[in-house]
Assembly symmetry: C2
Homo-oligomer: 302 residues x 2
Amino acid sequence: MSKFYINKLAIVGLGLMGGSLARALKAQGSVGEVVATGRRAASLEKGLALGVIDAWTLDMKEAVANADVVVIATPTLIAEKVLAELAPLMTPSMIVTDVASVKGNMQRAAERVFGEVPANFVMGHPIAGSEQSGVEAATVDLFLDHRVILTPLSTTAEPAIALIQAMWEACGAEVVCMDVAEHDAVLAATSHLPHVLAYTLVDALAQNGSAADIFRFAAGGFRDFTRIASSDPTMWHDIALANKEAILQGIDDFSAHLDKVRAAIASGDGDTLYATFDRAKRARDEHFLGQYLSRQKKSPSS
Amino acid sequence: MSKFYINKLAIVGLGLMGGSLARALKAQGSVGEVVATGRRAASLEKGLALGVIDAWTLDMKEAVANADVVVIATPTLIAEKVLAELAPLMTPSMIVTDVASVKGNMQRAAERVFGEVPANFVMGHPIAGSEQSGVEAATVDLFLDHRVILTPLSTTAEPAIALIQAMWEACGAEVVCMDVAEHDAVLAATSHLPHVLAYTLVDALAQNGSAADIFRFAAGGFRDFTRIASSDPTMWHDIALANKEAILQGIDDFSAHLDKVRAAIASGDGDTLYATFDRAKRARDEHFLGQYLSRQKKSPSS
């Protein structure tokens, strides 16, 4: 990685993701200047005050001028507008990437703006985050030991892919390449659907007449189960709409399965219930045992 | 609490709950002898080897002879059989309690066995646990700073309630009394329903053709969301059947809410989605902010 260096990094939309990227690259000495732009001067000014960025401007043209790398880190549905603003400012030596959670939507947006996805636009998605948001939540190690999925097309330039890969690896992430549709299906299952379910459950309970008691007696299991329902509503509103088809499919698969479990409870079919719960436990333990054990060491009584 | 002391504690069903109770009471010097009984000699022998109990026997009569307190800590659906075995062995000076997660079922079982719930049977439910199970997972602090709900009836003896309350307070728990039906409704919402949903989601995903990829790219949010799906299938099979009506009601409320969210995604109704997600975030943050912040300090980048 020693040859990897970004002279000027421009971040469009300075929040948890863009801020954490800036912090990590600065800590590694992998970046010269970090300039951020966006719609809200307050966030940008906060980023400057926290030392996350070196400068900010509300002017996109100024922000990206002479940038080696431009990272689009706005909410998903705003990214298309950003691409349109960026289009006339892009140069052949400028590499553009993004951090949006849905990639099919981003590909379609780029196709609408550019006709075809530019060779120096490398679509990406760091699988990291927090139920906190905003530049003030940015940390130097948000991406450390996390995966970053890149979804380059056959027309994406190899050197551009290599640079974006090196950028994330400098943050301590493991980079994996994946097909756009596969990315969106996998993320719908493991991230988008669980968020929808958690939001739905908490909102349903909050509207229950006994909501105060319900939350009062909620234990650690409920707290963990609903942690993702504390995530940024704007971001998840965007994701739910951007990855609509895959999420609807996920909801339908889940609902069909829940109907079967409901029928087993209603009819007292203990064998089906036990088999379902046991399969789920085995699947989860098989896939998470390593991570699970390391968490247990930290909180043995949780 | 200095006057509180149990000369002989009998535990029927030695697992995580009974074992942790024994460890906590021993650590506090609040108990003389702890004798356990159950169906599996191996678990009982393990408890003895680990120093959790002082003695064990497969003979219920021997186990409860001269016990001040008998704790029924078997899986929920076995408790009725235990009550039936215990009935001829109970003496007026013996106080019986249980730790089952469903109380209406336990009340009906006691009524079937005894005609009416005995005055010295104090139904209880510690809101503590872990996705681990078995006596080997028992810890001295499982109940520390957790709530224990007692659901005494109007016919339950006050001194019996006071002693069981003192027993749990000696373990560091906060004791709350609640109506049986209210307990079962609240626990269905905050614990039983989330477990059913988590098991259902993990099992649905495990049966997906892309299961390996799905689990491979699952991040921290998914791991937390599904942690409770690693819980003991036998225990949750029992709970799902024992609290059937309240859980079915919870599933139906949840499904109706999910249908609305699904419709909003399908029709691109961003306002409804944002309002739902935002209400959920506010409700959760309002109820959990204290606990949430203390967790965040431990793992800032999770």
